[in-house]
Subunit: 337 residues, 2 copies
DNA sequence: CTGAAAGCGCTAACAA
DNA sequence: TTGTTAGCGCTTTCAG
């Protein structure tokens, strides 16, 4: 059961290497009979082509790189499924690379991509990313890149996002309608565009409903779960504690709930909560969680589809090819009875 | 900012290709001064090596393949982090391949690996996998492979698992001690070794506590969430409905809770629930969920460490190198007050 | 329809 | 210490 290369396969068949190669690639130059023989023998000898040899020769890897902050996150893992579904159809492989929210990791990964590891890139930037030269460089190098979810505004390429501003607005308005007048906003980054758009949606809603903005209700969380928990707890311990919370990112769900429990605050009576989250368990939390649910699978799918359009047609420009796929506010027990 | 290859780099430096190559690989044959010059120029010209060329030449890819059923699952995403942490240290890349619980996908992926895409494999088999020739073939082909979590008993190679039998036993005993006498067991596969070991642990506990086994309490779930929900609902609607449930896999958590809610069954009063689960939200569910929490990160890490030992030392045999890392029963509200 | 041969970018044996 | 060269496995002209 040893692995065989194309030369040994050709030898076995009494054919030339090139004929075998063409037969394997279903070339029109080869007779049906020969193709059949080649395929049959290839199967019998357990021939599996070396992808690196083809990549090297053809200067294309048949790989796309997916660079995301984290895989232990419902949004990203669902997005991966969306991406995969189209990559598979196109005969491509997906290289999942995790930045763990570190700018340095992100830069290293993208840099490596310049060596030809991938033919195109789908990127959701890390929370630390404030400066985007590493991304522009990659694109200048000829690698098509599509942002999804977390984009860099000042890089000119396709961006697949959701309606961050509008959903945050909706979430805030919803809390206001549920009689919240002291609403906290938990951000994960001062630089991330999605964070800022969500923050702006929140601010706009407050302004439209004539609620004054209080800076102490705007919390910038870190990447450390324990520290976030303490931060949220502190927020909920102050004199004028909020009666509504918007968590702009899924991983803040648990610390928020834990803090409420620790402080014996009743949800939704004392505090109402909305999270940007794709957690499957949202419906069975205590109480069930009102969410802004993002179209994760679809965003991944759309981003990948766009990337492949660029891959298949070098004239197709990704600039201005932006798509905004709306999220849904799902009202549950954490904001109503 | 165009990408440069080693020949152009050599040209620029007035050196030969091989000198440059050796300098880049920090060979002892090259003077410090030359190394410095090469590195400096490489950085200036934005040289990034083509990994496929080195792979082809060196017949090693510096990639390990991680084959798992699903990425939208806490256990697997945490395990990935564990695997990644050691791969990174070793200068390897991780190729994550998803089978989506399909045997056919699994076979295709492993087959492709024979082409040289990866130097070693970490595998958690699909729920459909009953027959393991595709795995033995791969190993016979010279690729080191380590199972983690879901192994094939009859394939001789390292297996990193958790104490499935014992944890299921503990979970069952716990339910019995909480006065459950009609305990259902939700399996996801009749063939998967983990499923069977968990089932056996359950059966053993019943036997030890002199509770008779009732086949109608042993439910084999499918891969379809909706269908599982209906199955569980049906289970809970019968005359002698169970007063305890053990879900042998994380993704059954939501359907179990939903079914209880739909049928207005109070947890833990009417039914007590334990799930094999690494859900971060277990503690904030309604009610908080008693779990068997698996050492996901550590299992991934251990599996990867073992694989690298085999990769670094071709004399090291993976046979009989099995590790069992214990899980923890975390008692919460779904089984007690 | 089939085959010979060049070469993708890199490494390493061997020569100098 | 540096350079020459062959070749990893494959695809693709180009010639037959």
């Amino acid at each position: 059961m040893k692995n065989i290369n194309i030369r040994e396969l050709a030898l076995e068949l009494n054919l030339s290497v090139s004929t075998v190669s063409k037969a394997l690639n279903d070339s029109y130059e080869i007779s049906e009979e020969t193709k059949r023989r080649v395929l049959e023998t290839a199967a019998r000898l357990n021939y599996v082509p070396n992808p690196y040899a083809s990549s090297l020769r053809g200067r294309k890897s048949k790989n796309i790189g997916v660079v995301i902050p984290e895989v232990a996150d419902s949004f990203f893992s669902l997005a991966i499924n969306g991406i995969e579904s189209v990559a598979k159809e196109k005969g491509y492989h997906v290289l999942i690379c995790l930045t763990h929210e570190s700018f340095e990791n992100e830069r290293t990964i993208l840099k490596e991509f310049q060596g030809g590891r991938v033919d195109g890139v789908l990127l959701s930037v890390s929370r630390e990313t404030t400066q985007c030269n590493h991304i522009s460089d990659l694109i200048a190098n000829g690698l098509p890149l599509v942002f999804f979810d977390r984009a860099c505004d000042n890089v000119e390429t396709a961006k697949i996002t959701t309606d961050d501003f509008e959903s945050a607005y909706k979430a805030t308005a919803h809390l206001i309608q549920q009689n919240c007048d002291q609403i906290a906003f938990l951000s994960i980054s001062k630089s991330l565009s999605i964070s800022n758009k969500r923050l702006e949606g929140y601010l706009q809603a407050l302004s439209d409903y004539q609620i004054k903005v209080d800076q102490k209700y705007i919390i910038h969380c870190s990447n450390d779960a324990e520290q976030n928990y303490l931060l949220i707890k502190k927020l909920l311990q102050q004199k004028n504690k909020p009666n509504g919370i918007i968590a702009s990112v899924e991983k803040l769900t648990t610390p928020v709930y834990m803090a409420c429990e620790a402080l014996k605050l009743k949800v939704p009576k004392d505090v109402k909560i909305v999270c940007f989250s794709n957690l499957e368990t949202a419906a069975i939390l205590n109480p069930s969680l009102t969410t802004i649910t993002q179209p994760a699978f679809e965003m991944g799918k759309t981003a990948a589809t766009l990337l492949f359009r660029a891959l298949e047609n070098r004239n197709f420009s990704l600039i201005k090819e932006d798509f905004i796929i709306p999220s849904t506010l799902v009202v549950r027990g954490s904001t109503s009875h």
